[in-house]
Amino acid sequence: MFVNACFSCTGQREFYNDARGQSVSIEFLHAYILGNYRRLYARTLAAGINHFNQGQIILNLLATGKQTPPEDRREEGALIAASLRSLPPQRAFRVLELLRERRINNRRARAIAREYLEGREDPSFDAVKYRSKLRATVAHGHLKLAGELNAFLFHGWRKRVFKTPLLEAFRRAHYEQASLFELPFTIAEGLAVKHGIARDVFLERIEPRLTAGERLRLQGAAARQEGVIAIELGKAPLTKLALYLLSMKPETRRERHVELHAALERAATRTLRRGSVPLGRVAAVLDNSYSASGSTEKRRRPLGVALAAHYLLSSMAREYRAFWTSPPEAPLLVEARGQTNLASPLLDALDWGAELVVIVSDGYDNDPPHAVAELTRVFRTKLDPSRRTTLLHVNPVFASDLYAPRALGAHVPTVGVRDAEDLPTVLGFARFAEGAAPLSELEDYLAARVRRLLERGRRAAEPGVSPVEDEATVDAGEDA
């Protein structure tokens, strides 16, 4: 259940539950597992859970270091360091900053922070982009940074001329416009306002410095302002890409259908290179009811996950068919609309004779209510007791009142996912979610994953191996 929650919950507002409930609920779960199954808790870091929960676990482990049994100390420390390194930098720095907010300052926490900072490739870039967070970390842990960084962070950039080019650019950008375009986008953005640079001019000139994520994020804004930012649809991760495409107007999606469709297929293939389970005859029951529109904080996420899962499964399976709750003209033109009638598409899928049925839904089944629970119960007990057909419910939404993603009755295992990319991992976890496998087996499974994560961390630290490629090879070996 805990691993499940860690896949889907991000402490944000969902369609049916508010943010406050979400954070209370997930905090309770963390505290409970930490108190009772400490080793399992630490090892969950290796399970491929989402960044929000990784951050929480790291913090909680560092805060309660005294309770670690001596024999686990080494592994726990290594796990924390490795997963902190694998987090996106803004997330990792936030975790370090939270160390100060939560007043966690033991020897291990300081060591972890120091090790992390030493491992960063370009400290001066971090110093500019994550200035306040880095300063908080350094001050909190009494760390010494190389070169001019300490002076930059603590004596202020006004005091002196820097020799490091980026730091110097940052200083100069406060006084002249030209230097501003050498800075990271988010920093330059604020300074551009200060200098009164028109938005379209700014976007045009800063374009070479945008990261892939920033490019995707700025698309909508740029379109409104008639500016165009070149975006390579081929680079974005699958779920992010699906969400971005869904944010386009239906007409645009219709016009550029061939291009967008190809982009999604490419993204799916790219995801599968990291690890793929070859599947047979697969049917996906995809929920595009109104509740798939998500919330203001997670706009269209359930729908995006469904669309991404559609592309992912279709390239994983030998034979594949999708059954939407209200079938769209083409998967790409899907909209969140109407009631949730999961029973009929599920029946169609079973009729088709699928070996594996993956249901992507938030678990609210209202036309008629509990139909899927009843249907699957009868199907399991009467029509298919030997389990020739595997049923799996994939839920992108964490229900705070249940401490878990909402399930569809007792006869379908439910697993939470945040990104469709987790699907290959999740297919491995489905057995545990069903409750069929004992705890010890889960521990073994996690232990194996821990070993791989740590190995990967060690190899990534060596020069010449890029972490991404490395991850790909490891995952591919493991899931096969």
Binding site: L347, D367, L375, V378
Partner: protein, 380 residues
């Protein structure tokens, strides 16, 4: 002036119910229409005033019968071949009526509850139409100058008569329920249950109109029932299990799910029995082409659930529009007393006899119901 009253039944002809969606204590039951005809459309017209004064008789600023209430929006109905989309939302005309500033507030003056604006267009104030009809029920007071009645009652009738109601947004649960509600493709209306008691029904003619008007339900007013039963945790989740002994193939499983769906429709129709199929006293308000606008009151028996509302039927009896308000027990009691008094020609003794009670008891009941001002102080 007495309008013709006819006794009819509300028959949900051309409609079917779908399984309900529950949020807390609220249960929303979608009403679906399979055959959608395009010839009757509704659109919302918003008013942004604190109070609205509707002239029922006479000109805008002349003396006459008035209705005063908070009216957030009206409904514009257009029929027969005119594309409603062309009418909806286009504010070619200057805003309707007249807006006055009264201190920090605004007051809108309007003509009539139902007003024909063009050949095929009608503006009405939903529910206020029914409420006005309900308030004016036996409004004139005694027609024979019985000795017991106060001078006030004899010269002015029950003027002014007031009732109060609860706006939809008074219950935060309702806002959430409307937000998370998943509108069906062919949905034209909704039955609203609170604590599994029918609170209101709203049905229009066209699914697109319903989609557009869905959120206006929040601005409408409801009976006190919307606020009562606050301690009930949530509406019971009803289940109709599939009997696995009768299922031996996927086809039969499909049939079983279908049966489940029908069970739901039947059961909810049964729960709404106080409205559908019950006898109502309807007054004709407007005839518009093949459509017939009526307002109605149910039996007003204190022991039963009572609704007021308005409805539009097509010539062939199809129910095209319905909006109801559930009277609270106190409101029913007041209306019931007035009705009994009117039936007895406002003679207290005769009324007491027909109510199978004593005269003193009746007077006490009248005073308790808030009609003390009708009677002379000396009457005991």
């Amino acid at each position: 002036m007495k309008a013709k009253v006819s006794v009819t039944n509300i028959v949900p002809k051309g409609l079917r119910l779908a399984p309900s969606q529950v949020w807390g204590t609220l249960r929303l039951v979608p009403v679906l229409r399979d055959e959608v005809r395009e010839d009757l459309r509704f659109a919302q017209r918003s008013y942004d005033d604190d109070l609205t004064l509707v002239s029922l008789k006479g000109g805008l600023k002349e003396p006459g019968l008035k209705y005063l209430s908070y009216v957030p929006h009206g409904l514009v109905m257009s029929w027969e071949g005119r594309h409603a989309e062309a009418v909806v939302g286009t504010q070619l005309k200057k805003p309707e009526g007249k807006a006055l500033k009264v201190g920090p507030h605004t007051l809108r003056l309007m003509h009539r509850m139902v007003r024909r604006e063009e050949k095929n267009r009608l503006r009405m104030l939903p529910l206020h139409l029914a409420m006005e009809g309900f308030l004016s029920l036996h409004f004139g007071g005694p027609e024979v100058a019985w000795a017991e009645y106060s001078r006030e009652a004899l010269s002015h009738g029950l003027d002014p008569r007031t009732e109060w109601s609860v706006p939809g947004w008074a219950n935060p649960l309702f806002d959430e329920a409307l937000r998370v509600f998943e509108i069906h493709e062919r949905q034209v209306g909704v039955l609203l249950f609170h604590a599994d008691l029918l609170l209101s029904a709203f049905i229009v003619s066209h699914p697109e109109d319903y989609r557009a008007l869905h959120r206006t339900l929040l601005e409408d007013f409801y009976g006190e029932l919307l606020l009562q039963y606050g301690f009930l945790d949530s509406a019971a989740s009803l289940e109709s299990p599939i009997d696995e002994r009768r299922v031996s193939s996927l086809g039969e499983l499909r049939a079983a799910v279908e049966r489940m769906r029908e069970d739901w429709a039947w059961f909810q129709g049964f729960m709404a029995g106080g409205l559908f199929g019950a006898e109502v006293w309807a007054t004709s308000v407007y005839g518009a082409g093949p459509f017939h606008l009526q307002r109605f009151v149910t039996s007003l028996q204190v022991s039963e659930e009572n609704h007021i509302g308005e409805l539009i039927t097509r010539e062939d009896g199809t129910l095209e529009y319905l909006k109801t308000y559930r009277l609270s027990a106190a409101q029913t009691r007041r209306a019931y007393l007035l009705k009994q008094l009117a039936l007895a020609d406002w003679n207290l003794d005769r009324a007491a006899e027909s109510l199978k009670t004593t005269r003193a008891e009746l007077i006490l009941r009248l005073r308790n119901a808030g009609f003390g001002y009708l009677l002379k102080d000396s009457v005991k």
